[in-house]
Symmetry: C2
Subunit: 352 residues, 2 copies
């Protein structure tokens, strides 16, 4: 990214040499990103991140198709960028249908088929859930949507760079990606928009990105994103296998060692890096704080709609701890955190 | 910015230590930006750039005030981010009133007063024009709007860091800024939103920026933007004086030396760095290309609505060349470009 902050600082829109150099860097990056998902370069729209990509997809298709119908099918456990875009649309005359989710947080193609009506213009289902890690049967759902002429969008922010993505095999018309989730810079993401699919832009201006997203292109971030994407895809197979093994060992060991633990999300159809556990009788917040004091950065899902919806209710929901494995997490790190987590949970339980 | 790309990589939303460090950096930056325009830190909303800030201001206020009225007052020579946001609103049931501009590209407070109706909810006028450099009488217009209870927005992307800005003295309720125009990184900007002013967000998601703009905060860019802002404001008085002198010398010398030249925009109420000239009988494009071959990056305003609107029509409009002075432009650079421009124009004229 570095040269694009200083010597190659141009605006891709400018007619002069500095502009041309910046434009070339952007187009090379666009080609790299496109290649990682089996898309054409001109089908990649750069955005300021995953949230913007999701907003552009959901509201962009809704408003582009408003003459045809106002029904959108989604799940109740989408990321807030999709969930709150749908809520906004519901307040503005759209009809949002929610697919039921099972105890593992999965939606089904059969339910999707049953919900589609002639007024359905979009099916938006995340590829994998950010809290509980469950991977959805996207291909099955999108095949049915496609047969009925309904546009399909998936928020792939959690899976991009972690699981293989082929927009054609998935039958996705739109797909959201984020750079900082794959060790790239913040402030940049992309929306794949299949050729021929219309979206009403959110950003009006000079008409960059073929009119789909105005604003000066963030050249250094775009370059950084494309390199991060190449690296992630190159390492994906090996890294995904390594993390899956580490994840399953962690889950198996801790559930063997202690009572009153529940794994949230699907046991196998699951993000390689995601461990989400509920501990009977204690809150997630206090375990997170205890872990933090020992230098471990984990997340809680207290007040989580996702957990409530999959039926982990009341005390159990407040006791959920999410541990995310990363490229730099070693087996020894994982063992260390597991032992620490076990001890902290046992101590916390004694306090009651 | 550098540490925030690597060691301090956290998401300000995260509960753990990495999140807290990132959040602290963002809040320090927010305070710095606020200080440069006499605002409170909580009145600064970070966006992906000037385009997003303008879109959020114009559409955000329009939709927030839709129950009260649908009239918006603007000028016909706004940047496309405001201009096309207004056009979008016009297609969706809003009524856009355009103030007349004089030959120098200025709008007047008297015209603004005459256009305001009980249905007017927003006056949006740019602080200075990006093509012709003309500075608008913002304070006068916004005082009148304020007296009538109308929300005021100015696109200050061109003036921020170049001219003193005090949102209270200007009576601005909203003000757009961009980082890369002040030598900061691309992909970041901000919208000042006065306390108590509502905007409907464009980005729905996790509710960052007090619900006004969702999306993971771009920590390194925010930090870089704040440092660039501090530097720009620190150097502003000296640099603005230096550039104004250089600009006027350039304009005076070249208009003395040649016939058939017109300065576009106001002669004195003008951005310190902006030179926009029309040359009788030749096109801007060819001069830009000639300059480019000699290593000078300039811009043309061919097909410019701004020039057509201020009455530089037909051949003259196609012959406009914009030269922008920068922090690194020396007197010797300016003399060199002036001599070159004169020669290139003379040669081009001989070809006809």
């Amino acid at each position: 990214m570095m040269p694009y902050f200083s010597e190659t600082f141009g605006n891709p829109l400018s007619m002069h040499r500095f502009g041309a150099e910046a434009l070339e860097a952007v187009e090379i990056a666009r080609g790299k990103i496109a290649k990682t998902i089996n898309a054409k370069p001109e089908e990649i729209v750069f955005t300021s991140g995953g949230t913007e990509a999701d907003n552009l997809a959901v509201k962009g298709v809704a408003y582009a198709k408003v003459q045809q119908g106002k029904n959108i099918i989604t799940s109740p456990i989408e990321h807030e960028a999709v969930g709150n875009s749908c809520r906004y649309l519901a307040e503005h005359g759209f009809d949002i249908s929610y697919l039921p989710v099972d105890v593992d947080g999965r939606v089904s193609a059969a339910d999707a088929r049953a919900k589609i009506t002639p007024k359905t213009v979009l099916v938006t289902i995340m590829h994998a859930n950010n809290e509980i890690g469950t991977v959805q049967p996207i291909e099955d759902i999108f095949r049915i949507a496609g047969e009925k002429g309904v546009i399909t969008h998936t928020d792939a922010v959690q899976t991009y760079g972690a699981l293989p993505i082929d927009v054609k095999a998935m039958k996705a018309d739109l797909l959201s990606m984020s750079s900082h989730k794959i060790y790239g810079p913040k402030g940049i993401g992309a929306l794949y928009v299949r050729e021929g699919v219309d979206v009403v832009p959110m950003m009006h201006g000079k008409g960059q990105e073929k009119g789909k997203r105005a604003g000066t292109l963030n050249v250094p971030a775009i370059v950084g994103f494309s390199i991060a994407a190449e690296l992630a895809v190159k390492e994906m197979k090996k890294e995904s296998k390594r993390q899956t093994k580490m994840r399953d060992r962690f889950i198996n060991h801790i559930t063997d060692a202690m009572k009153g633990i529940k794994l949230n999300g699907h046991p196998t159809k699951r993000l390689p890096n995601n461990i989400n556990l509920s501990f009977d009788g204690i809150t997630g917040d206090e375990i997170i704080k205890d872990l933090g004091r020992h230098g471990v950065a984990a997340s809680t899902s207290s007040n989580s709609n996702v957990l409530r919806i999959i039926g982990v209710s009341g005390e159990k929901a407040t006791g959920s701890v999410r541990i995310t494995l990363g490229r730099e997490t070693t087996e020894s790190d994982a063992r260390h955190v597991m032992a620490m987590l076990q001890k902290l949970v046992e101590n916390a339980r004694k306090r009651y």
